[in-house]
């Protein structure tokens, strides 16, 4: 059995007194497109900097493609293609120049492939980088991240700031050139609809911890909204994981993880209810901003029915 592309075990990272990662554990299998989701400031970029050996962890263990990035950062970076959020490159270089410039840094650099990608992604080689549009800049960054045939590609909010058409185009390129070749992609984002079409698996990061990790389809099947009477809501409070609670007139809308068990309970007790499918955006929102605690004591607290 091959080692995971990324293996993070109980990693802690603080900046002075500000704790960013709190015992984060995560594995990404090879060949997967893995969406790493979290709000701004959740610790996504810090995690990526740890993966690339740009930061050192306080505690825990990290392996990237079998290497410890803290001790072997150059080996990791040689095998990883990285595209940073809002990446700034040398503005005075032409696109063709930066491809030539980058070549000797990577033992596996394939310049013909770089030129092919540049053509496919419509990167103007004769244009200076400072004159590129936002979309062209991102696509050039992608060419640079892919031209050495990396085993793992790390994308840190790459489509940030692109318009919807550009984002779709970017994802299409991603699917064509990465998933088609069976590479591992670690895609960090806070835009769910962006990663939804491409991700095999998602992990949601909140306050330095992974609060949910699942295959995309399984997550969608597992997390749903159940609308039911206020008095019946207490039943779910005890027996399943409520991520979010919203009063809706005499009813309440509960976003529940492990919906199978919840529905079983409701059927068993004959509680009238309605189930609403959620998209990944809504599921993400429930995990990171949902009121999973405290609603029990609210004034309009649902009363548990006796069974």
């Amino acid at each position: 059995m091959s080692t995971p592309a990324i293996d993070i075990q109980a990693v802690h990272k603080s900046f002075r007194r500000h704790q960013v990662l709190r015992g984060m554990t995560l594995q990404v299998e090879r060949g997967q497109t893995f969406a790493f989701l979290g709000r701004n400031g959740a610790g996504k970029t810090t995690t990526i900097q740890l993966l690339l050996g740009l930061l050192n962890r306080d505690e825990g263990a990290i392996r990237v493609l079998g290497h410890d990035p803290e001790n072997e950062p150059l080996e990791v970076r040689a095998k990883v293609g990285y595209l940073a959020e809002d990446q700034t490159m040398y503005g005075w270089m032409k696109c063709g120049d930066i491809l030539r410039f980058m070549a000797p840094f990577y033992p596996t650099w394939d310049h013909d492939l770089a030129l092919k990608y540049a053509k496919d992604f419509e990167v103007p080689l004769q244009t200076k980088i400072k004159h590129l549009s936002k979309g062209q800049n991102v696509r050039l960054g992608l060419v640079l991240a892919l031209a050495h045939r990396p085993e793992l590609v790390i994308l840190d909010d790459p489509a940030l700031g692109l318009d919807p058409i550009m984002r779709k185009q970017f994802n299409r390129d991603l699917i064509t050139h990465l998933q088609g070749e069976g590479r591992t992609v670690f895609y960090s984002s806070h835009l769910l609809y962006e990663v939804e079409p491409v991700a095999d698996e998602v992990a949601i990061l909140k306050e330095g911890r992974i609060v949910r990790r699942s295959e995309t389809e399984a997550l969608r099947r597992d997390v749903k909204q159940i609308i039911l009477g206020r008095q019946a809501a207490g039943l779910l409070q005890e027996k399943s994981t409520v991520l979010d609670f919203r009063p809706d007139g005499d009813d309440v809308a509960l976003t529940v993880a492990g919906v199978g068990i919840a529905l079983e309970l409701l059927h068993r007790d004959g509680v009238e209810h309605r189930v609403v499918d959620l998209d990944l955006d809504e599921i993400f929102e429930a995990y990171v901003t949902g009121k999973s605690h405290g609603w029990e004591t609210a004034e309009d607290q649902p009363v548990a029915i006796e069974t």
């Binding site: 080996e75 700034t88 040398y90 080689l125």
Partner: protein, 515 residues
Amino acid sequence: MFSNQQQRPMRTIYHSLLWKEWHEHKWKLAMLVLVTVLLSLLFWRGEPQMLPVAVTTLLFGYSVLAGLFLGMQTAAGERGRGTMPFLQTLPVSVRKPAAIKVLMAWVTAFVPVLLVVGLAYAYLSSYNSDSATLTAMADSSVPQVVLDTWGRQNWLLGTGLSGILCVTSLLIWMAAAGVNRSDEIRAGAIGFLIMASVWVFIGILGYWAEEWKSSSLDHTVRVMMSAAAGGPSIGGGNRGPRESYLPFVAAAVLSHGCVMAWFLVSFGRHAVRPARTRGGRGKIGRIDWLGPPRKSQLTAIIWKQVSETGPLAVVAAAAILAMTSLAFWFDSGSQSRGSYAELLAGIALSVGFLVTVVAGMGVFLEDVKPKIGIFRRSRPVNVTMWFVVKYCTGLMVLAITFGALFLLAFLMPNGQRLLSSEYAGEQVAAIALVFLLVYTLSMACYCLGRQPIFAAVTAISVFFLGVYTVDFLIFRSLPADMRLFGALAVMVVAQVALTALAWLAVRNNWGWNIE
């Protein structure tokens, strides 16, 4: 289609890095060569007796400025333009790019020195001048320390080598002391403070050596001077008659080796930290003298500019006082308060020139950067008010700082001698006007070029070329009674033109974004 050249990748990492650094330094090199050669030709004006003073002044002035400015860019250039994260993620130790960066900066600094010396040598050879006359002239213009070290006959070689040692030392020290700062100006301020602190420390030891009459401490202090920023240029000049060169050379090599190693180890070793949440820590003990929220746009802009120029002015004032005290302790022939006042005024004037150049660039340092520029321009702020208030506030901060230093010098015993000349009023006015012009020139250069090092080099070059032009056109061509008026008219015209140029650049977002 792609050209053949584009289809060929570069061969090695060093090839790539040298190509990159060469590209980033080539225009600086061209400009420095042009300016130094032009200035040296203008200064000695074909008169051989002017050669020693012209070469010495030019080389030492150039070495200090080039060392500091190229060091600032080496330290913070990558971070300043936002490309450090890109460099960090390359699969190569950042020590390699750092080493190539220092090497290319050094070549850029070195070549103009070589050219000036070569030019002077060629001129001397072609002129067949009387070497005794030239040696006599060198005696009066070349620093004693150079003559003592290299001999009177070798004054040109000695001046050139001292210049190279000076520029190399300052470059390495500034690069290390300012490493990883967020921009060149901050790197310069921190670097200058650290270098000055080292000299102050040596000065204090020197003071104790003299007080305690300790010859061993005195020897140690003189050896330590070779190790400090710019110290190697003193060479063996501070060596006693029977002392070996070895400790001085060893101290210089060891300290600069360590400083260089520190730079190589530290370069790029930082990461963007997550934004801190606003907590009590930032608020406790902080004097918010305008009181939040700002009452008006005017106070807000003043607050911003004072926050930007103020620290630089405070650091400069502290460094000037420290340097004055240091020079006073070391100069045994100036043991009077009056001398201290003269030293303070002299050092404030010379360091003030450099600080004014940096402060001028700092007025719009952040404002014309693309991202911040868009932020500023998208706010409902009157651009003329923005420009005028920032310009005047920066100027006022400098005027108050240097005014206080000059006042201090004046109030010291015998300080009144500073203004004893018949034309003291005119001299003060002329100095103030020159500083105003340098401030405006530097600001205009930065607004148009948007690159601090280019702006500094351009401003200093234009200033000296301007001085020569005024000298040639006004003081050599006009009748005596018209000269003052002529010089004043030129300065006023230049001041108005430069202010207008800078204002147009800020208002219309003009600029080249030189890289």
